[in-house]
Each structure stands twice: as C-alpha cells, then as structure tokens.
Symmetry: C2
Subunit: 133 residues, 2 copies
C-alpha cells in the first residue's frame, strides 16, 4: 500500500516508529501475542500508536478494544496479565508480534489460548496427496 492512515488518537509513540507504522483504515494494526518460551500463539488483539507505546514502555500488553472503543490492559480485569518480553514489527510494519509471559488463561473463555476451541482442520487432513506435500 502506498499510503497509510494517520493515528486516530494522540500518542507518545516514538516518532520514528510512528513514521513507519502502516495502519489499517481504522488506525490500528493487528498484534499477535505469543508465549515467549513455548511459542504458543495466545491471541490476536489490536493496537493503535498509543497502545503500542504503552506496550513498549510499561512492560504490560495494552490493546485497543474495537468493541468498547477504549484501551485495554490485558489482565486488569481478569488478572491474566501479559508481561512483555519482546516486541517486533513485521517487514512492512503493519503487524506487531509481542512475545509475552502469560499469567493464567489468555482467552476470556478460560481456555489456555484463543485458538483452542474452534479447530477447522487438523493434521493436514485436507485430502492433498502425500506426494504433493
């Protein structure tokens, strides 16, 4: 994409990071939370510039809630805190990967990760001949 929406809200995010961040039309980028030691993908949230800034500077994962329209510090309500271990942007700066140490369940359903319950395909059983794999 040749242009990117500007931040929707005021932010203290480092100007150089903000300059290369490529936001969706709603001013957000998807943020993948991954357990730092096991590699499990825990959940995907959304960050605006300020949520990324807070994630980088407070040691706690902070997201922008699209449904509630407010910042959301993971674990503030549930106790299921995500302590930030590392943060990276992807090659075109439109996705964040946060490696975290997750306290308790990552999912609001109580499941360990948000991807445990709704498995569409397992064990590569898509009918593709083994010779093609």
């Amino acid at each position: 994409m040749t242009s990117t929406p500007q931040p929707s809200r005021p932010s203290s995010l480092d100007a150089e990071i903000a300059a290369r961040l490529k936001r969706s039309a709603d001013g957000l980028v998807p943020a993948i939370a991954q357990q730092y030691d096991t590699g499990e993908v825990l959940m995907l949230g959304w960050m605006d510039d300020e949520a990324l800034h807070r994630t980088l500077t407070t040691g706690r994962c902070t997201y922008w809630s699209r449904s509630r329209g407010e910042y959301w510090v993971k674990g503030d309500t549930s106790g299921h805190v995500q302590y930030v271990k590392s943060v990276a942007l992807d090659c075109d700066a439109d996705t964040v990967l946060v490696k975290v140490d997750q306290v308790g369940a990552a999912c609001h359903t109580g499941a360990h990760t948000c991807f445990d319950a709704d498995v569409l395909l397992k064990d590569g059983d898509s009918g593709v001949p083994a010779a093609d794999q």
Copy 2:
C-alpha cells in the same frame, strides 16, 4: 461487535464456518502463519472467505493480497510454499491461525520470518522493575 460485514466475493467456504466468521469492514480476517514444529510466527496475511476455503481444501496457504486485490498462493512465485498442517479460528471467529510447514524463507525479504528485522524491544528491557514482573 454485534454485526459483521458480509463476504466481498463469491466463495465456496462451508456455510457454517462462513456464518460464524467475523470479518473486518474490508471483508477480511487476519491469518497468522506459524511453523508447526518450531512454533515460530512466520507472517501475518489476510484471508477472505474464499482464501480460507482454499487454505482448508488445497493443502496450501492462500491469502488475499490487499495491495494487489487478488488471491495469492504463498510460494507460487517464490517457491516458498506453506503446506497446511492445521487451521483454527479464535474464540470470536475474527482471526485465523494456520500451522504450516514453510519451505524456505517466509518473508519476501529473504528473512526466515517477517518479524526478524524490526525488533523494537528485546529481553523485556522496558524499565519495569523486576519485582513487578
């Protein structure tokens, strides 16, 4: 969110899956590609209903390219194919996690993953006192 945009394009996706898929305003959902055995997060792409259908049924990861406005079978140009091992939706059906076996580099830059080059924070060095972690 109480409603979700409908598919933008015709699709053969299973009707029950399509009924619970919660798409962004552009009709897409983010899709995380993770190496199935090492747990590395390789990249994030975008899928519409038909890209998800093809990913579920062909054994190859298929995305919707937002910049080119077309389907994109990972590896068709580069040879860096992603063979599908499993596919899951998250708890609110607005994100896809695809575990894959990645051939070669996942990133178009030649890097192993798309998250290798632009690290914003390492080793939890956010200045949070150790006692709080």
